[in-house]
């Protein structure tokens, strides 16, 4: 199993949390995993990206045009990070507009769940639902239960489930 995934968004949207969830899920399934993240000043509302590499890689960074999947919490980031995805790759986009990608209006659904902050979980659920990611919904739910802060757990699970059962 080798998969290269990027998560693109804006500081504060929970890109790092999704990165951790995917990394823990990979380890839980016995895969080696490496991730790369944006920290520091760039996180203050700026554009951020995380890389997740599942399988026997040595480098934590994904080259341009080499990612299998892209999870975009901010649709406009396609302009900045879209070229990480290889031609045969798949895009999961938080957007209410259709395009050359798989999309879900994660922000609106998250607000319906009670918190805009779980739009990251909605998008993750939607991507897992597609079935081609390295991990399934059962493992991911377990990981969400394990690493969520207790006060966020219910909202996180609700958001994930909403994305998972979309349409």
């Amino acid at each position: 199993m080798e998969q290269q995934i990027i998560i693109s968004g804006t500081g504060g949207q929970g890109v790092l949390f999704l990165t951790r969830l995917l990394a823990e899920a990979a380890m839980q399934q016995g895969f080696d995993v490496l991730t790369a993240e944006t920290h520091g000043m760039a996180m203050r509302g700026g554009t951020v990206i995380s890389h997740v590499k599942v399988g026997s890689f040595k480098s934590p960074t994904i080259g341009r045009g080499k990612a299998d999947y892209g999870l975009f919490l901010t649709a406009s980031n396609l302009d900045v990070h879209g070229d990480f995805i290889k031609a045969s790759g798949k895009l999961f986009i938080n957007s209410d507009k259709a395009g050359d990608y798989l999309h879900i209006d994660a922000t609106t659904l998250a607000v319906q769940c009670g918190s805009q902050l779980v739009s990251n979980l909605v998008l993750l659920g939607y991507a897992v639902r597609h079935g081609s990611l390295f991990c399934g919904s059962t493992v991911m739910e377990e990981i969400i239960k394990t690493i969520s802060l207790p006060r966020h757990l219910d909202a996180n699970l609700q958001g994930f489930t909403r994305g998972l059962h979309y349409k």
């Binding site: 380890m27 490496l34 991730t35 040595k58 934590p60 080259g63 302009d79």
Partner: protein, 627 residues
């Protein structure tokens, strides 16, 4: 923090060993390595990309019954000196910082190479090629070479952890400080890492007096220098540090690639992707300085085409004294910027004579620039400063508040503490020309003030500078993850220390004008600024200090307080955009259709400061009903 893990079964001979694995960030892996090495003391000052190292030492040290001494020191120089003395007593000690932190700690660092250590001393210096979050992309391996100290260059979190005990052992064997130099890509990578049990060494502090060594007046230093040089020669001959090889199949005779750090990891993955792993000899350097002397001979004797890939300066490359090596000196590897896989791919294609693979074309989007958080108290302070002194000069400093440049209220940012000295420098330059000098307002955060702001404040008072210093006191070190300051009074492990108060320090520095104010109260704050300016220009005037005090909204573990106000924009808005350019709150959004500003209710935190910004009073707030 580190809750999820599982048991991986590794096969070792016939014995099945169960090892616990955890997902660790590079910095956490280093913290883990420090705890697994029986280290007794760890000191640090936060700075991206090194900030998480000390916090993880706090976390992991809880797994043993013996307490370590773990501290956020006021700056890197102090941190280094604390760890150094602790090592004199025979106890293993560690100190962690970012690369520019070593500039601050360079004084004790340079001399410690001569004087040496007793208990192992490991200095973790996190470099930031790129740079992503720093004022330079300097290579600390060059600093190690300058000081004549061995340095390890890890390629991954796993390796960073494994190198910590190796560094301690080497440090004790030769009684010399040893540097571990991760880069941002390693510090902020996460990886599944096998964890050992944290160790406690049975050592009691014992400082053996030896003035010839620990005091080492100039008389002793030539000899100490000679001993240092001899140590380095022996270390360069240690078999353990002969680089490992992924051997080629002989099809590319006379050619090899040498890499270290995360650049090795990128190179390895790229060669695999290109189908060239196992075709060309690939060497991995763990210790870039001193480079193994037999390795230097091997490379110079056996190869006629050599490519060296390393970050960020040609440290390995230059030790070969071989003009034919391709790398930074030959211009094949770019001499600036991070060596991302994309950059290395192009280098490999040239060196190995490959045709370039097609990459998706970039649409060239730049993304959104970082900005102060909605409701950030710094924004209010910056707005007031710029609005009060439109012709002022605004030196600033290192922290979240550097983003005040977006509001036109930060004119310089140089290094920790420079804002106050630069303010005095500006004043003296202008004051020499005429009595009508511009108002100079320096801004500095509370943590930066403790770090390097006090000596320049004393200096400014002493030299009769007429400047305003605004200390942006948000009761935390915000940019790096909310580490406590001496004024907050909490130690690294969360227990109370002895509080040191900023107003006391300001008074002790000889400042005769001091006001404190919550910058959310914009009118009051502007009143203090105007009064401060009058004081500066008065006959007996000098340095005026205003402490802008309001806690950071991003404090760790803090549940955000319920918003008291709903802020909206009325039809009175004339679309002048003053709130966008002078206040730059992410919650303020210009609607191109109505040509009016709207407030994004999800982003707005209800601080209501923008009400004071709007020149026509179109921004209004109503009290929310308590849910």
């Amino acid at each position: 923090m580190f809750t999820a893990f599982f048991m991986k079964i590794q096969e070792k001979g016939h014995i099945m060993i169960k090892k616990e694995q955890r997902i660790l960030m590079g910095n956490e892996a280093i913290g883990r390595g420090i705890c697994e090495s029986g280290c007794f003391l760890a000191a640090s000052y936060p700075g991206t990309p090194a900030s998480e190292i000390l916090a993880s030492v706090v976390e992991f040290s809880k797994e043993t019954a013996t307490g370590m001494h773990i501290e956020w020191s006021v700056n890197e120089k102090v941190a280094y000196e604390i760890a150094l003395a602790s090592s004199y007593t025979g106890k293993r000690s560690a100190v962690a910082m970012k690369q520019v932190g070593l500039n601050v700690a360079s004084d004790p660092f340079m001399r410690s190479a001569y004087i040496g250590v007793k208990g192992g001393l490991v200095l973790v210096v996190a470099d930031d090629p790129g740079p992503h979050s720093s004022q330079t992309e300097q290579d600390s391996r060059s600093f190690a070479q300058f000081a004549r100290v061995p340095v390890f260059d890890p390629a991954s979190p796993r390796e960073a952890k494994e190198m910590v005990p190796r560094a301690f052992a080497l440090s004790e064997k030769y009684e010399i400080p040893v540097m571990l130099r991760p880069t941002t890509a390693v510090c902020h990578a996460r990886q599944n890492v096998v964890c050992e049990v944290p160790r406690v060494l049975d050592r009691k502090a014992h400082f053996e007096k030896n003035p010839g060594r620990w005091v080492a007046t100039p008389n002793f230093l030539t000899n100490l220098h000679r001993l240092l040089n001899e140590k380095m020669d022996v270390i360069a001959d240690e078999e353990d540090f002969f680089p490992s090889i992924v051997a080629g199949d002989g099809s590319r005779k006379g050619e090899c690639i040498i890499a270290s750090g995360v650049a090795y990891a990128h190179t390895y993955d790229l060669l695999e992707h290109l189908g060239l792993l196992g075709k060309v000899n690939l060497y991995k350097v763990d210790m870039p300085y001193p480079l193994n002397c037999r390795f230097i001979e091997t490379i110079n004797d056996r190869y006629n085409r050599v490519l060296v890939i390393e970050e960020t300066y040609p440290v390995i490359e230059t030790q070969f004294l071989n003009r034919h090596i391709q790398g930074r000196n030959s211009g094949l590897v770019p001499n600036e910027g991070e060596l991302t896989p994309d950059v290395i791919e192009t280098v490999l294609q040239t060196f190995l004579d490959l045709t370039a693979e097609e990459r998706p074309t970039s649409t060239g989007g730049k993304g959104r620039r970082p900005t102060l958080c909605p409701g950030c108290p710094h924004r209010a302070a910056f707005y007031a400063i710029r609005d009060t002194f439109p012709e002022g000069i605004f030196p600033s400093d290192i922290g979240c508040y550097t983003l005040g440049m977006n509001l036109g209220a930060v004119d310089t940012c140089h290094c920790m503490g420079a804002g106050i000295s630069q303010a005095a420098g500006f004043y003296h330059a202008y004051a020499a020309d005429s009595d009508d000098f511009p108002t100079v307002v320096a801004t500095i955060g509370d943590s930066t003030f403790f770090h390097a702001g006090i000596p320049p404040l004393i200096n400014a008072v002493f030299t009769k500078a007429r400047i305003i210093v605004v200390i942006l006191d948000n009761s935390t070190t915000a940019m790096t993850g909310n580490q406590p300051t001496p004024q907050v009074g909490l130690l690294a492990d969360g227990t109370p220390g002895n509080q040191v108060l900023i107003p006391d320090l300001v008074g002790a520095a000889g400042v005769r004008f001091l006001r404190e104010c919550d910058p959310y109260h914009v009118d009051e704050f502007i009143g203090h600024l105007k009064e401060a300016d009058r004081y500066c220009r008065s006959e007996s005037g000098g340095v005026a200090v205003i402490i802008a005090k309001h806690p950071c909204l991003m404090g760790k573990g803090k549940e955000k307080p319920a918003q008291k106000y709903r802020v909206t924009v009325t039809e009175e808005c004339v679309g002048c955009k003053k709130c966008l350019t002078h206040f730059e709150c992410p919650a303020l959004v210009f609607d191109e259709e109505t040509k009016r500003v709207n407030i994004d209710p999800y982003t707005c935190n209800g601080c209501t400061v923008c009400l004071a910004v709007c020149p026509v009073g179109a921004i209004v707030a109503e009290e929310k009903e308590v849910e």
